[in-house]
Symmetry: C5
Subunit: 303 residues, 5 copies
């Protein structure tokens, strides 16, 4: 259950804006990689010093900066200074217990999302915080761990497939959010299969530990809900934002990803409903079996 | 339960606007038929090439284009180009896991509805996606399968009964939605009969598998709810839309179909309430029987 | 449960505005009676032809036209033409599965209400649709059956007691709604007595079939709720309506009947709460009895 | 349960504005007493005729008129005429099944509140309707019975303690409402103690009738809720009212009494939550005891 | 349960604005300490007379006045007079059963918060009322008891770490609220651990008294909810307040503490969900055990 409870108490008493890592897992080493492009050119760099990123802020190119691993607080603070980020933003980036949200700082937008992964071994859903800082010509992604999730997007950008290279940093931001939401469907399918399996088992052979499995899945659903629901508000906020950072041509894409978010929320709610029903089946099946035992007992007693 | 879960994961990593079929069933071959009319004339054609439909866009006549079966992606893309449809619309048309919704693209409105069918054999409700693209002088319907549902409407249009021939494409759109909603009542009556039968059985002879039947019906209700609820918003959106594509004279008809939608939502909620109550009866009836067995046992033991 | 489900499927495929009777009971023969008055005079007539009513539309007197029984579709259509009613209104009048609602057609307002009757024999609540068409100087009431409910109102109007004769058709409309709502209280008292009796029985002697009675009453409450809740919206709509058909002096009376509607909704919700609680008592009382049987059994077994 | 159901059916068929007493108890004889004051002077009178009150309407003094007991309909009607009250107000005053509400009649405000009393003997909460008519220089309180509740307020007014004598009739109205709400806390404390006692008993010795007591308390909570919830709206309405009858300087006091109302609503909701939890404890405690009996039985059977 | 019920009845009959201590615990002796500063200087004083504080109202420095213990009503009234506080504010300060709220009195803002403490010994959450009075150059904190909670904040202020010394009284107010909310996370972690422990126990060895522990925790959650939920409204109110007392530069910090409040509300709701699920596990585990006992019994009986 630990992942239900925010572990912010470690921070009590510190001044606001102090970046202290708070999260479920230990922080991983920080690695920066940059993809910088305009319609003609693409460059990929992997700066070893965070301060090398400063050039991208003034560059005429659009830059997508990926920061994977949040252990190196100094590097993050350097980066924060380079791009004029508020200390509270930095604090929220390393404190990975944030709820999904959107904050407009005028010069840039700050967004928090949750990336979900289904772990086959433990049948658990793991969550990772993804922070986005969207400026006029740059997008910075802060991730807790290295991840392959955005590889197809990087390739499309590198090989200039589709409209992606003609558009600005806001389109990259949209693409990143879209990828995250699409990934929710994979995770929900996996969880849905588990629910299905459980239900069949419940009907054919209600073994003893099944209640615990139902309860565990219910907990997963509470967790998923908390990760996905606020995203709806975030994207709605982007749609309504009258910030020059979000161009109008993006609106149609945001509507699309908004729909997908609603769809995944729908799926979560349906799964929750299914799980509630399963408890009822279980209880009635126990009562039924009891009745039968009693009948046997009565017959024997009669004899 | 599979129909509860959106199977979008197949799409992860693809650029937005790529039309890939996603749905519960395999795509069926594509067949196009057009009904083109003004107050005096009606023509019916069945173009073999999607590109033949281009003429209808500029025609002074009003055209109702039916596309049944979504397998032929190329034809759909051609059609999309002919009528200036956005790639995201095409993507949503073939991805048949959409929620009912209304989107205003300026030149045309895009709507998604769910058509429901009650399958007598399996006692299940099947759902099919119906996409409508409403332009100034055309309405395109995209359906997953061939269906007889709109035959009476086509006949009325052909034989010029009622006011239908004097009115524009928006009236056809209304008539299509009205037909879909009227059909919900047939499906709900069938489901309602099942609920009635189950309740009588529950009271007269609560057999063992009845809980499973109740649970199955509950699942159907969740499914029906998801298909019908968002329709209310869609029609409400049409009523409030200040698009030149929806003429004012249509408002009175939309109010009517809005009422019917509310009525079918009401019926769904009542059926859900009934099903919840049935579980309580079942549990108490089991407990009661148990009590009686115990009494018998006690009497025997006493002897 | 049949009365929970709208039987609109009979209409599927027909053009909108076709008046086909849809309802729980067979349609009764149509009988028209008119009460026409100003401050000085009152006339009562019973036209045999619907077309005779046309004079009342232009008359300087205020007319209250009662139509009881909906079998004679032709007469209704004639009446509709005489008073300029939209075909969709006629359709809704004969289709008695409407939800209570208010529709503003400019020249007249169309309202649907539910009249409730408690049937002592079957302990059931029956519902009948009452449609009101309110014009500048006329009110037409369409009822499914003959009913004595409005007799006192007719007498007051005839004998000129109170302010009723000085006021227009909107005041008659208010008086009709008020009478309908007042009648809800009689019905709710009857149902409330049933709930009380059931509760006493539950505590003193929980017989076997009691769960079924509770369930039946629960169903009645669902039904009552659906009939009464939307009325609140209807009256609220009348209060806010800026139609010349509703004079300002009526506002104070509408507020009064609005309060009564809220009161009856309150009563319904309280009764629902009571019924939910009764299930809990029942289950625990069964468990308790079981415990006692077991104790006896144990004592016997010990001996 | 009788107090849950509005007994308005007695009124069906009567013209609106007919004052007929409707309530849980028989009407008590009517007694009028007046307290008239300005900053310097206070006079107390007990007029025997209602018509004697007319002088207070034009008086430069502020008058607080208490009417206790509603049996003498004639006196009430006289009073109504003297102060220009609408017949519907009089009707609501004697019909003591009103919900708390606020109505603005221009010249005066009409308010309905519920006064609660805890009856130690029967452990029941009784409710009494308090109607307030607030004019520019008078406040009339209509109560069902004689009550000592406002004695401290009268004394403060008579002995000129605090700011009360410098202020107008609206401040008296506030003070009356404040007294009523403060009294809710006494009643809720008593009910809360009952809930506490019940819970301790449940844990230490769950006797048979306890379910019935829980159910009875639940019913009391439903009743309390209906009496207190609407008050919030009433006071909110007073705060927003732009009537010259409510001076701005009163706003700060209304905010205060609003807070207290919210607090008592909070307490009610918490008590309801507690009672729901108690059922669960009870059921599980029964099951547990059953288990133990069965174990004993098994051991004996084994021997 | 006592802490659920507001004990305001002691006040019934007193004029509004009479400061009478009402709370769960006896009032503690009053101790005042002041921290007065500008960018260069800091002074700490501990006035023995409340009237000594008057100088801070006119001082060019910013003053943070801490009042710990509310027994000395006279001192509080003196302080109230010195800073122009309304009698109703004083009343609310000593009446420690307030809900969290924000009130704008023009010259100053009045806020009520709840400070929570987890008592290891009894596993209970205790609550203490914190009242804030925010003026243009002063912040007065009224606390029920001495507390170490704000020590780190005082030290930061004294040693001039961070931006704190350059900013006004509103920043101190924000810092105080932030500290209170951060502390909620510590308390919630402790409660969360208890829930975790309980759940493990439930699964491994469901002892008899466990239902009572679940019920007790549920009660704690109701209590926590009531303390934390209204805070959201308070901070939202501060964000929207167009008072000169809240400078614009504070907005970004308020957004931050708002997020944390939402996060702690989320945690509370998740814990509540977990506890509801635990009851289901418990009931099914009892039923299961029963089944097994019965099987043993049947086997023995057979032999």
């Amino acid at each position: 259950m630990s992942k239900m409870i925010s572990r912010r108490s470690r921070k009590a008493g510190l001044p606001p804006g102090t970046p202290v890592h708070i999260g479920q897992q230990a922080a991983e080493p920080t690695r920066i990689s940059v993809l910088s492009y305009d319609e003609q050119n693409v460059t990929q760099t992997q700066p070893t010093l965070a301060s090398e990123c400063e050039v991208f802020r003034q560059s005429p190119l659009t830059s997508w900066i990926m920061v994977q691993g949040l252990r190196d607080i100094d590097a993050l603070e350097t980066l924060g200074r380079c791009f004029g980020m508020h200390p509270l933003v930095l604090e929220d980036i390393v404190n990975t217990d944030q709820r999904p949200k959107l904050e407009d700082y005028g010069d840039y937008l700050y967004m928090v999302l949750k990336m979900l992964t289904y772990r086959e071994a433990t049948h658990e859903v793991a969550s990772e915080q993804l922070s986005l800082v969207l400026g006029p010509n740059f997008l910075i992604c802060f991730m807790e761990r290295e991840s392959e999730l955005f590889e197809p997007l990087r390739q499309r950008l590198g090989e200039s497939r589709g409209r992606i290279r003609k558009m600005g940093a806001d389109y990259i931001a949209y693409s990143v959010i879209d990828t995250v939401v699409d990934n929710y469907f994979s995770v929900l399918e996996k969880v849905g299969e588990q629910v299905e399996t459980l239900e069949e088992e419940l009907v054919s052979n209600p073994r003893r530990g099944i209640m615990r499995d139902i309860q565990r899945l219910k907990r997963e659903m509470i967790f998923l809900r908390r990760s996905v629901w606020p995203l709806r508000e975030l994207i709605g906020g982007l749609q309504r934002a009258d910030s020059p950072l979000v161009s109008e041509s993006i609106g149609i894409y945001l509507r699309d990803v908004y729909d997908h978010t609603i769809q995944s929320i729908d799926t979560i709610e349906s799964l929750r409903d299914m799980l509630s029903g399963m408890l009822d089946i279980y209880l009635s099946s126990i009562s039924n079996r009891m009745n039968e035992i009693m009948k046997v007992l009565t017959i024997i007693a009669t004899i």
